[in-house]
Amino acid sequence: MDGAAVPRFPRGVRLREDAARGRWVVLAPERAFVPDDVALEVLKLVDGERSVGGIADLLAARFDAPREVIEADIAEMLRDLAERGVVVAG
């Protein structure tokens, strides 16, 4: 999962709002994860078209933070989520 990789949710994994509990959840086969605030910002931008670099551009602008640091953090987070089957590199 480097800067050019395009992450997407595999079939059977979905991010959705859990309005009854005031949070967002990732729904997966017989499991549900509650992403932390940072992961949620990233996962909301995962659409199967935007690259890791593209997500970094948006978040760097939004949080006024150094882009290289953000891209490295995002790539690491997505690698971890990919190992757990939550995202795949498209």
């Binding site: 059977g12 994994v13 979905r14 959705r16 509990r21 729904l27 086969p29």
Partner: protein
């Protein structure tokens, strides 16, 4: 308890038992021993209303089960109702009734995930346990249909004395079929399984070998296969938080529309379970006596009442307490602190002497209650 103290957190999951009809006759079926016929099943529109109410209440995932849920001709319509309610849909199936064309209808309706059961890794034994000739071969044809459609697949292997030695083969089968998850589910002994307990209880040596197998496979297959595995109650010293606690995270709805805190609860005497034909799901969950009876900790007897773990295991399984002690309000005998804990050792010793004969699950053939 009053007011706020009684207010339950909303449920996360709903088990929809769409029918009790099933071509298989597994002797450990989790359905009640009194099975209902097709004429009493809820129609698709009523399931649609229940799903909408469940979603509004906070349910995220619906598990479409049975019996065999694909025995319902209107399953695509039922799935569409769940999808339009925003629920994640999981089909729990034996896979023996579904060909490519029929599965395409379920996918088109929006199905998210399939859990396929197998009775063994070896066809002749699997067909004998399921009581259905040719069933295993049909399952092996069904799994590739699921994978070809791009859906994630979980393999569910119910294990017991008569198949536990083939656990390595079951793990291999999960890999061959392209499953991302494998549930190694020890039989739970109430209802049909309690009647067949002596033929099904594994030995301690089998259990230890299985636990080693799972631990090794989890290491070797990291990133390829997730294995769910829990040590069975009959060899446990601490009870499990059955259903995450009575009326805390989960509910089941029977084919005829009864809301149940657990799929086996219908067999408990002295309950009036809410009928969702006439009661809303929200009212059933929040206000019914049946859901409130074993909520929280105030109902607990000793040794649960004074136990530091009472909000971890919630007293264990009510159905097992009833099945073994005759009182659903007792501490689960799986707990080493239960005055009835010795019953489990006794059952294990009896099973060591027993044959492998089953009483198969069939409509109109409720087994005599087991003693013990």
């Amino acid at each position: 308890m009053t007011g706020d103290e009684m207010r339950a957190p909303p449920p996360l999951g709903l088990l929809a038992e769409l029918t009790h009809r099933c071509p298989l006759r597994c002797p450990y079926c989790s359905n009640p021993t009194e099975l209902h016929r097709a004429s009493r099943e809820l129609d698709a529109a009523t399931w649609g209303r229940i799903f909408a109410e469940a979603s509004a209440l906070g349910v995220l995932q619906v598990h479409l089960s049975g019996g065999e849920p694909t025995a319902r001709r209107d399953l695509p319509a039922i799935i569409r109702h769940a999808v339009s309610a925003g629920l994640y849909t999981n089909l729990i199936t034996s896979g023996v009734l579904t060909d490519e064309r029929r599965f395409a209808e379920l996918v088109e309706a929006g199905l998210d995930h399939v859990q396929l059961s197998v009775q063994d890794a070896e066809a002749s034994s699997a067909d004998r346990i399921g009581g259905y000739a040719g069933g295993h071969a049909r399952k092996l044809r069904f799994a590739p249909i699921v994978r070809a459609a791009g859906l994630p697949l979980t393999l569910n292997a119910v294990v017991h004395r008569q198949n536990l030695d083939r656990l390595p083969d079951l793990i291999e089968l999960a890999l061959t079929l392209g499953a991302g998850r494998l549930e190694v589910a020890h039989v739970q002994y109430y209802g049909w399984a309690l009647r067949n307990r002596a033929a099904l209880l594994p030995t301690r040596a089998q259990l230890d070998a299985a636990t080693d197998t799972v631990n090794r496979a989890r290491d070797e297959l990291k990133g390829r296969l997730v294995i769910d595995y829990v040590v069975p109650d009959y060899y446990a010293t601490l009870p499990k938080a059955c259903m995450g606690g009575w009326g805390r995270q989960f509910l089941a709805v029977s084919p005829t529309g009864l809301a149940l805190p657990c799929h086996a609860a219908e067999s408990l005497p002295g309950f009036t379970f809410p009928d969702l034909r006439t009661t809303s799901l929200q009212d059933a969950w929040n206000n019914s006596e049946a859901f409130n009876r074993f909520r929280g900790t105030a109902w607990m007897p000793e040794p649960c009442r004074g136990c530091a773990r009472k909000e971890q295991d919630w007293g264990g399984c009510r159905c097992q307490a009833f099945a073994l002690t005759g009182d659903a309000a007792n501490t689960d005998p799986a707990c080493a602190l239960s005055p009835h804990h010795a019953l489990l050792d006794l059952a294990v010793r009896e099973a060591a002497e027993a044959t492998h004969e089953f009483t198969y699950r069939e409509m109109g053939r409720a087994p005599a209650p087991a003693t013990g």
